[in-house]
């Protein structure tokens, strides 16, 4: 699969300036289509502490869908997956790396 640059830049990097968003999508390699059909055989989030960063401004996986996926997984567990709601888009590792770092630090302190 490949991604059409203009449409992709508006969703994947919706929280970056347009020029930066376009530059980043231009760097995205192709991706093997088959992977999206691979089924999960080991839902390991049922077995170990799990956390989910909900990207509230994500335009690819909408926050409502993120929450419904977390809720569904939490129902299968003894305790719910802990959620962090952050106002970020789909690729915060580039657009808001500091916000993700703070969540990582919180997770690390939770599991001490």
């Amino acid at each position: 699969m490949t991604l059409e640059a203009e449409g992709n830049s508006k969703v994947t990097f919706s929280d970056l300036p347009v020029s930066k968003a376009v530059a980043w999508v231009g760097k995205m390699p192709h991706h093997s289509t088959l992977t999206f059909g691979g089924e999960l055989n080991h839902p390991t989030y049922l077995d170990i502490p799990s956390f989910y960063l909900i990207a509230k401004n994500d335009r690819i996986i909408r926050p409502e869908m993120q929450r419904s996926l977390v809720d569904a997984a939490s129902e299968l567990r003894e305790s719910p997956i802990m959620e962090y709601d952050i106002p970020i888009g789909h690729f915060p590792f580039i657009s808001q790396p500091g916000m993700v770092v703070e969540v990582v630090r919180k997770v690390a302190s939770e599991i001490l």
């Binding site: 699969m1 490949t2 991604l3 059409e4 203009e6 449409g7 992709n8 969703v11 980043w24 760097k27 995205m28 390699p29 192709h30 991706h31 093997s32 289509t33 088959l34 992977t35 999206f36 059909g37 691979g38 089924e39 999960l40 080991h42 839902p43 390991t44 989030y45 077995d47 170990i48 502490p49 799990s50 956390f51 989910y52 960063l53 909900i54 990207a55 994500d58 690819i60 996986i61 869908m65 993120q66 419904s68 569904a72 997984a73 299968l76 789909h90 690729f91 590792f93 580039i94 790396p97 993700v100 770092v101 969540v103 990582v104 630090r105 997770v107 690390a108 939770e110 599991i111 001490l112």
Partner: protein, 172 residues
């Protein structure tokens, strides 16, 4: 936990279409907080067009097994698509499983970052198919090498990709 720093090693599983270096700024900020960080290099990104989720699962497990082999605890961070092979890869590498066989270190926690959190037996395709529209910026190309293998075409169709992506036959 590393006995000196009490900090887990962070292993990052990239999104689809995403090279490891996309995470460099994030990694340098974590490193400034004294975390060791390793990024998995997914087989499906920029490599073989026929790479599968299991190929990615193995690429991730190669990384986590190596880090765990150094007696380190691991927090696995998974981004978007990376949540599917990332979740799968943890099987056999959790700290609890490793300790049961007398080993030290392993995966202690999972952090999903805006991820397609697939249910048991579900794929990204079947997870998306239940709740999302058609992203018209995704172009699925079926190359000539694929068209000579009809069962792969059939499997793509069976995965309900037509409802998710526009499936276009590419003559080249």
């Amino acid at each position: 936990m590393d006995s000196l720093t009490r900090k887990p090693t962070i292993v990052v599983v990239p999104d689809s279409f995403s090279a490891p270096y996309f995470y460099n700024t994030f990694i340098s900020q974590l490193t400034a907080h004294k975390y060791d960080v390793v990024v998995a290099d997914l087989s499906s990104v920029g490599g073989k067009a026929a790479a599968t989720m299991i190929d990615d699962d193995q690429a991730i497990q190669d990384v986590t097994s190596k880090v765990a082999g150094e007696s380190k605890d691991i927090v696995l961070i998974m981004h978007s698509y990376g949540g599917v092979p990332g979740t799968e890869s943890v099987h056999g590498v959790t700290k609890e499983e490793r300790e049961a066989s007398g080993k030290i270190g392993g995966v202690v926690a999972l952090l999903y970052v805006t991820t397609f959190l697939a249910g048991p037996g579900k794929s990204l395709g079947s997870t998306v198919g239940e709740g999302a529209g058609v992203p018209d910026y995704v172009k699925v190309e079926v190359r000539r090498a694929f068209t000579s293998i009809p069962h792969i075409i059939l499997s793509l169709v069976n995965l309900d990709f037509r409802s998710v992506f526009s499936l276009a036959l590419c003559p080249s």
